[in-house]
Symmetry: C2
Subunit: 703 residues, 2 copies
């Protein structure tokens, strides 16, 4: 990483040099200067163009070097071949903040692109000059009416901070993110990347929610650690694109960043408290939700509706996102009953339309909402209201009534689902008062409330314990085993893998290496029958294919015969194999087979994998991931988030497995990966889980 | 069902009596007469109210009987206690179409509700008078500016026909369904239900798409048959609510209809070509899609985008809905290449922004779209365009360009994803020309295209073969077996179930009933070892719990011993059990265990179930359903739509199972259920599937 920087020079510049200022003006001209002036930026602007003269009545400098005053920010929009020269000028003039809008660097398909990219990097190396871009729309700070967009767009301020790799998130912010405060398009991330921007937005007082559009990531670990700290006090939403295979391919051609394995990204986001969204259209609702509601203490939803049918739709949506439909307290039921017509019994959803027709809609919604919000059995309310008519002339407009009641219960969200063609105009009216959010669909309402509850309960107020390295690890044994394998040039460890895993405190089946048939028989006797015997050789990767494994050995004679047979089988096919002997191990049965794995991810480093063994899980992709090392709590999450958790937890009369013990194995495997970067891959397959504990039956380590 | 009716009297009435006309007028008055007049209905209206006088300058009749002219439609909005009297007057005046808006009948929680409901039913029984409602907003026919809503709302015509059980779908149609042509709120469905309305809308020339909001259904089978015919020429979209458990409870309290098992509804909809949506907010996009695009011949999508980042998001969305990103032909690649800057190679998505900046956006989008639409490797195009500015003054407005090119390729959909705060206004501009649909999100665009392709390929142009009863069924044996079980008062069949299933042509393991130990030994010898022996008794439901099953019998001595042991075990615990002997059957192994089941659904009658055997499927709910009888094609769909299909189809080197044979078993089981309504439940568990065929190992029939 280059030197530390205060991003304020980019976000709050007092003066800007605009290099490559275009003289083409008017609608559709894509002129940054024109946009900047029309937006109302109040700092000084110095247009630069070798042709000189004036543009839009402003004096144009022929070169950056002609500007005598200090410049906070340089915005570069020249042809790409001129960019390195301009950057060198920026450096020599002591400009510390540079935005390169120009495309065609690491995003280009030709040879010049990467070369020009390198020239830029060389120019700023060791200097205080820092770069946003290239291939960017640049920055927006709506609090000071400043942006570097060359495209005309409408925008409104909101307490949202954005980091993106595509300008559309700035231009379309009014739609995607319900407005924007500060936005940084980091483009190709030649220099400044996600983590620095994240740290900046985390500290910014006017920003309540951070949005990230991510195509790829470098230094994933650093990002993860920063996010883990920040999400405790400020929510982060990430749209990670390139989730499909074809999307990933498109991503790598677009901004040159590695797309990475999608499920590892998901796991890393979960671990750091980031909320991942899968469509840009989820951002607006979540931003408003997280910026508006202070708390949500539970999942019990009360529904007030003007339509029984809409009530059912809302209940379906609540179920879809894991929320619960509350049971009203007797007190609430009585209050509703006194408003309802005689033929109608109250319940949740509270269909208040018949009561409203008889007693007046406004009064009924006022009383019902107040009563339900004060009910201790309720954590949040969804009000279904109409948007059939323009709110400015709708006799059934209840925006004022609802806002007034909702404001009295700041610890419980009052959410609105406005039904009808005027829902957007209605939503704006609801938003004005600042105490409720009006959603365009029941799905969006329930999705956002569920995410709010998740953030409040599992991120903001989560009882997170820090990672602690587990005890009782024989580091000396592990180091010497790994060293001797490396020295011997044997990258694949099998019997030694069992030793290493055992040294890390993960239980391994009892076993012993025999060098002769007689020794095998003695060891089998000691271990207790039945036993399994396997060839011990660094040169036989697929033991069973070569007849290198014998099961169900239940007598000394069997053991002797098996030893000889294994040797014959292996040597018949691989006469030059280096053979250490035959591994004799207890043959265990019963319990549930699971797989524990580890590998290195290009973005995040050591990653753990967990899944149920067998063909079903393999085919159904029912596995979970975490970036290592992990805590016990994270290990338990890994186990519980698989669908197969039911099987381990004792469904349908099965004996429940030792989940705590299994979690401990995962924590210890994570520590192994973390401690030893020389391990590329590790597989414990299978680990048997019974009520009494876990037992590794076979394992593999690749260096 | 009551007499046949022409719903035209409801939908196109020339004259209307409005009974219970309110004298309260003005904004928020909820006055049907006032709404009707303001909407611009051109027929005659006769307001009726016992108080007489005038309302809104119209003469009010004191009673329906005072009206001398013929009345096409009566709209009843009196208090509920007066409704039966009014209906009797309608019948005596010969009014054949009645809408009852009043609530509080089968939807009420008191005793009077159901009684009043019955009085209405008695009044119309055997007469030509038919009822829509009660508990309804009534009807809308936007083609003649007619509706019976008492709530004020804005509405615009569209080629959409709607049947709903909640008035919000009429009032919010501009939002939910992108406008409406004809809508019928069938409310409590006391008389007229889904099927009659469906038949009507199917024949209506101005209706291109049918929308259904369904809380519950009666006569599911009749609905299914009608839908199956209609979907071949007109698409039907259904929002079936009450899908969650709590939603189902709310549904039954709302309109009194049975909610039913959700997965059976899904299966029935699939079978009849209905597209099920899970949110009201999916209807608008699908309606426009199905009404606008004539064809979609494949799944290969071309993407044209103004932003690389947006292109990736579009690709992700395509993958989510099973669409493919096309490979452009060399010709298209060359054409794009000639427009692109030197440093950029073309691909799909085609990011045309750099080309557009250099050569003019309008011209580039025109050429690129034309080239890509003419490419034979492309079935549909998504154009990502900006909506950053008001389309009326946006210099980058390309609505005209795109519409003009798209109109030249009517066999290939050109879909638009408009990004930005003006997307709704832009969408309206795109819609005007009628050849493209602009969606608000990439998800919606790809979801709608995927459903369009599904409708075109699997519903409209599907090569549907009709159900044909399979041959080689021993009906006589089945009838006599069922009869004797019924006569003997034995509702649970086990050994006989195997005989019945075999008689229907489903292979069953070889077996024989032994009445003595010696006979058992002889039969075992004949069948070939090993065999399984099981108690044959109608009084022992859980055979293994009582020691009534013995496995791995491999000699005559074993067989004799097993016979005696089974008898002792069973008689020791159930001394009075009626015992037919011991069933000796071949012990088979290998293959994959699957479950075939059948039951009676309250809405749809006989329903088949299919799933993989074992704890995994049971816990993961990986089963499929179909309403019986089914065709081979439907049976194959049932098998293929489970996640476990991979296991049967030979994944990871497994031997593939006899899928055709399995499908035949499902067809035959469906026929059994269809032929014999006296069968309440049937279970084949397990059926073993190997490469060579299928074999029933155990089965159960409940009468």
């Amino acid at each position: 990483m280059a030197q530390q920087i205060n991003l304020d020079l980019f976000v709050n510049p007092l003066s800007i040099a605009l290099i490559g200022a275009s003289s083409h003006t008017g609608p559709g001209a894509l002129n940054v200067l024109e946009q900047m002036l029309s937006t109302g930026y109040k700092g000084r602007i110095y247009p630069v163009n070798p042709r000189g003269g004036t543009i839009l009545d402003m004096l144009v400098y022929r070169s950056l070097m002609e500007i005598e005053e200090q410049v906070d920010l340089a915005v570069v929009a020249t042809p790409r071949t001129e960019v390195p020269t301009v950057i060198r000028q920026c450096v020599s003039k002591g400009i510390r903040a540079v935005v390169i809008i120009t495309q065609g660097f690491s995003d280009a398909n030709d040879e010049d692109g990467p070369r020009l990219h390198q020239e830029i990097m060389d120019a700023i190396a060791g200097t205080p000059t820092r770069v946003v871009g290239p291939n960017t729309l640049g920055l927006i700070n709506n609090f000071i009416n400043f942006n570097t967009s060359f495209i005309e767009f409408d925008t409104k301020p909101a307490p949202v901070g954005l980091i993106c790799q595509s300008g559309i998130f700035i231009n379309a912010a009014d739609d995607f993110s319900a407005g924007i405060g500060i936005g940084i398009d980091i483009g190709n991330t030649a220099d400044i990347g996600f983590t620095e921007c994240l740290e900046y937005l985390a500290e910014h007082q006017q920003i309540k929610v951070i949005n990230i559009h991510m195509e790829g990531l470098r230094n994933g670990r650093e990002f993860l650690e920063a996010a883990r700290r920040i999400t405790r006090h400020k929510p982060i939403l990430v749209l990670k694109t390139g989730s499909s295979e074809e999307g990933a391919r498109a991503a790598s051609s677009h901004s040159g960043s590695m797309a990475g394995e999608d499920s590892v990204f998901s796991a890393a986001f979960t671990q750091s408290g980031i909320i991942r969204v899968d469509s840009p259209n989820h951002l607006a609702g979540l931003n408003q939700t997280l910026a508006t509601y202070r708390e949500m203490r539970g999942k019990r939803i009360g529904v007030i509706t003007i339509s029984g049918g809409a009530g059912i739709i809302a209940v379906d949506a609540a179920g879809k996102y894991g929320l619960e439909i509350a049971r009203f307290s007797p007190d609430t039921m009585e209050a509703l009953n006194s408003m309802y017509p005689d033929w109608m019994h109250p319940g949740n959803p509270a269909d208040i339309w018949p009561a409203g027709m008889a007693r007046g809609y406004r009064g009924v919604i006022n009383s019902a909402l107040d009563k339900i919000l004060s009910d201790e059995a309720i954590d949040a309310v969804l009000c279904v209201t109409t948007a059939y008519l323009d709110p400015d002339c709708d006799p059934h407009n209840v925006v004022g009534v609802i806002n007034e009641v909702a404001a009295r219960y700041p610890q419980k969200p009052t959410a609105i689902w406005t039904i009808g063609p005027y829902r957007i105009k209605y939503a704006a009216q609801y938003a004005k008062a600042g105490s409720v959010v009006a959603y365009g669909s029941p799905d969006e309402a329930m999705y956002c409330l569920a995410q709010l509850f998740h953030y409040q309960s599992s991120v903001k107020n989560a009882n997170c314990s820090a990672y602690l390295a587990p005890e009782n690890i024989d580091h000396k044994l592990v180091r010497s085993t790994l060293e001797s394998s490396l020295n011997a040039g044997l990258p694949t460890l099998n019997e030694e893998a069992l030793d290493i895993i055992e040294a890390y405190g993960i239980p391994v089946v009892r076993r012993s290496l025999a060098k002769s048939p007689e020794e095998a028989a003695r060891q089998a006797e000691m271990l207790g029958y039945p036993v399994v015997m396997k060839i011990a050789s660094p040169d036989v990767p697929h033991k069973s294919d070569l007849g290198g494994i014998k099961l169900n050995i239940s007598s000394p004679d069997d053991a002797v015969a098996a030893y000889n047979e294994i040797m014959e089988n292996v040597l018949a096919r691989l006469s030059n194999a280096r053979i250490n002997g035959v591994l004799v191990q207890c043959q265990v049965s019963g319990g549930t087979e699971v797989i524990l794995g580890g590998k290195r991810d290009p973005q995040f480093g050591p990653v753990l994998l967990y899944g149920l063994g067998g063909i079903f899980t393999e085919l159904m992709g029912d596995v979970s991931f975490r970036v290592a090392p992990i805590t016990s709590a994270e290990a338990l999450e890994m186990i519980r988030e698989t669908r197969s958790y039911k099987i381990l937890s004792g469904a349908r009369g099965r004996e429940p497995g030792d989940i705590e013990g299994l979690a401990d194995c995962l924590v210890r495997l994570g520590t192994l990966l973390h401690d030893h970067p020389e391990i590329a891959e590790v597989d414990i397959n299978p680990l048997l889980v019974t009520a009494k504990g876990c037992l590794t039956v076979d394992a593999l380590i690749v260096l």
